[in-house]
Every structure is written in structure tokens, then in C-alpha cells.
């Protein structure tokens, strides 16, 4: 677990350095930090709005481990693919699926209203909740989860979003456990999710 956390941070650090782009929480990705600190550094309190329009904080996830994915509904490929993967994995968990939280947090809050999030998620497993918020609230939660996102203008005056594509697995106390990378195979993802389910009872 710790090794994975360290690897993620190393990868994230590599990206930030290589791309030379704005990265949130630069002070926390120094390679000299220990793995324990790195895993503790991912996650944190947030204030957002759920897909019914109600305010929501990290307290809504407390008591159950969580699988959290950051994306946006204008995303033509990675996000629907990931949410479909997640829906399939939830189905495979069977009754144990209820032991985890599943959250889709938009990094495009200007376009992703609660209503749109709700509509969009109706096409996926009903366990998955959608969170949006103000641009500031979004920036804060993204920073805490070390999620990279950036708005890219297009020729028509619109924009696309570059964004991290991994699913974050957090324990029942909101502590980082590991990630499921984009398009991970079912066996690998399910092993991680079953491990998370196993921690649900003990934490």
C-alpha cells in the first residue's frame, strides 16, 4: 500500500517536473518525503454540492471507504469509460457494493450543474454520486487529492479539460489507500476494491 502511494507520488512528481505545468500542492511532492507522509497528504476536507443540489462535505463519506473519480461530463471518452468500468465493478461486488462510497467529482463546475451531473449519472450505476461546486471549492478538493486539471481553449471559444484519470481509493477515515489507473483491467481493479471492502469492517 505504502509502496503504491510512493509510486503514485513519484509519477505525479515526474509529470509536474516534465511538463512544467502548474501543479497543485507543489510543496508536498518533494521526492524526499516519506511514503507515509505522501499517503497522508492525499485527501482532506471539502465542501461541495451533490447532484441533488444539497451541500456536501467529507462527512458524507465518513464511515465507509470511498472510490473517488474526478472528471467532467463534456469528456467524450475517458470519463464515460471510467464510470462504465466503475459501474461494472460495483455490480461485481454484489451486496458488498453498499460497503463503499462511489463519487464522481467534476473539475468543470462551470458547466457541470447538479442537474446535469444527476442526469449524466443516471446512465451509470445508481451507487455513484456526483459532486460539483464553485470553482474555488473545486480547486480546493482537487488540490487536496493532488488532482491535476487545466482548461484548454478551443478555436470555437469553448474549452476542453486536461485532467487526472485515476480513481482514488480512500479508507473509511478518508485516508489514501491506492489508486486504480485509467482502464485498469477488471482483475486488478477488483482486487483493490475487495481489499477496500475488507477494510470497511475493521476501520
Amino acid at each position: 500500500m505504502m509502496r503504491t502511494g510512493h509510486a503514485i507520488m513519484a509519477a505525479v512528481t515526474g509529470f509536474a517536473v516534465a511538463a512544467g505545468v502548474v501543479f497543485f500542492g507543489v510543496g508536498l511532492i518533494a521526492p524526499s518525503r516519506g511514503a507515509g507522509q505522501a499517503s497522508a497528504a492525499i485527501g482532506g476536507p471539502f465542501t461541495l454540492v451533490d447532484d441533488t443540489g444539497a451541500p456536501v462535505t467529507e462527512a458524507a463519506l465518513a464511515g465507509k471507504p470511498s472510490a473517488m473519480y474526478f472528471g467532467y461530463t463534456f469528456c467524450p471518452e475517458a470519463c464515460p469509460t471510467t464510470l462504465l468500468d466503475m459501474s461494472r465493478w460495483i455490480k461485481k461486488l454484489g451486496p458488498d457494493a453498499d460497503k463503499l462510497n462511489y463519487v464522481f467529482i467534476t473539475i468543470d463546475p462551470q458547466r457541470d450543474t447538479p442537474k446535469l451531473m444527476h442526469s449524466y449519472l443516471s446512465s451509470f450505476d445508481k451507487h455513484i454520486r456526483g459532486f460539483t461546486g464553485t470553482p474555488e471549492q473545486t480547486a480546493k478538493v482537487a488540490k487536496e487529492y493532488r488532482v491535476y486539471y487545466k482548461r484548454i481553449p478551443t478555436s470555437d471559444g469553448g474549452y476542453l479539460m486536461d485532467h487526472s484519470t485515476m480513481i482514488y481509493l480512500m479508507d473509511a477515515r478518508g485516508r489514501f489507500v491506492t489508486v486504480i489507473p485509467y482502464q485498469d483491467d477488471d482483475a486488478s481493479a477488483m482486487a483493490k476494491l475487495w481489499n477496500l471492502v475488507a477494510t470497511a469492517a475493521s476501520s
Partner: protein, 173 residues
């Protein structure tokens, strides 16, 4: 392995049948093979269309525009994944199609992004699409819609890497 396997397979066969109707402008030297687009979640404003562009002529060409009444805007994009970060870029100068070669538009790579969908795309639907090339002119195809999670891998054909193998090659008529 995935439950979508069979569905995707059926959809691909549909794609094969449909693309036979691809029409060029007479002198067109580009064929469009295995077009498909991704079905959309409820409320989604965007989707992506994929296909293989095969240039049978001895001169390089370039995809410079795409039009369809299915969406308000259609753009040529490239997706790349760098250390877990998905990046999408509009190819404002178009997409080169080398002489005697082909280019695959596929998930995780080049695609036609459909922005401002005029209607939701459901698996089994189809829509017309016109590709404009610098030299070959307009090539129109009918694009079948496949399930949200469809990927070339799901089809089991393994032939979407830019060569028209695997299935019967589809020529323009």
C-alpha cells in the same frame, strides 16, 4: 471478458455493412473504414467518432474539416495520456493522411469530437458525417453508434491499427 463484447461485435458488423455506402466525390482517393461513435450518457453534450482513413493515392492528403447535423460543432482532436493525465488537443491544422498509408482515429488517440449534440446518441443509432480532405474533397459516411464503453479491443478484431485487415476491407462504391 467484458459483457459488452457481444454487443460491440454486433455493432462492428453493422459498421462494416454501413460503411459500404461511403461515397466519395468521384476523384476521392480516401476511403473511410469502420466508422463508429460512442453512445452518450444522459445529458451529455459531447461524443467522439472514430474510423480509419485510408489514402490509396500516391500523394499525401489532410483531413481539414468534418461536418454533420448531429452536433453543433465537429473538431479533429488528439487525446494523449501522460502519467495518468488525459490531455486533449484540437488539431487546428488538420490531420495528415500519408500517401499510400492510413490513419486510425481510435480511443486514446485521434478522434472527431462532436460538441453540442443535437440529440442523444444511443447504441444502434446512426448519423451521417462528411469528412473534407484537402485533396480528396468530401467523403460522406454513415456512422453507427456503439455502446458507451465500446472500444476497438471489445470487438476482438484487433485490426483497428490503421490497416483494413481482420474484416473484409470496405471499399467505396
Amino acid at each position: 471478458v467484458r459483457p459488452l463484447f457481444t454487443l460491440a461485435g454486433v455493432a462492428l458488423l453493422t459498421a462494416a455493412a454501413v460503411s459500404v455506402f461511403a461515397q466519395g466525390t468521384g476523384t476521392a482517393s480516401i476511403t473511410v473504414e469502420q466508422p463508429w461513435a460512442r453512445a452518450t450518457p444522459a445529458g451529455a453534450q459531447t461524443s467522439a467518432a472514430y474510423m480509419t482513413l485510408d489514402n490509396k493515392s500516391s500523394s499525401a492528403d489532410r483531413l481539414i474539416g468534418v461536418s454533420s447535423d448531429v452536433a453543433a460543432k465537429l473538431q479533429i482532436h488528439e487525446m494523449t495520456m501522460i502519467n495518468g493525465v488525459m490531455q486533449m488537443r484540437q488539431l487546428t491544422d488538420g490531420l495528415p493522411v500519408p500517401a499510400g498509408g492510413s490513419v486510425a482515429l481510435k480511443p486514446g488517440s485521434y478522434h472527431i469530437m462532436l460538441i453540442g449534440l443535437q440529440r442523444p446518441l444511443a447504441a444502434g443509432d446512426s448519423f451521417p458525417l462528411t469528412l473534407t480532405f484537402a485533396k480528396a474533397g468530401n467523403v460522406s459516411v454513415t456512422v453507427p453508434v456503439r455502446a458507451i464503453g465500446a472500444t476497438p479491443g471489445d470487438s476482438g478484431m484487433g485490426s483497428m491499427q490503421g490497416k483494413p485487415g481482420g474484416m473484409a476491407p470496405m471499399e467505396m462504391k
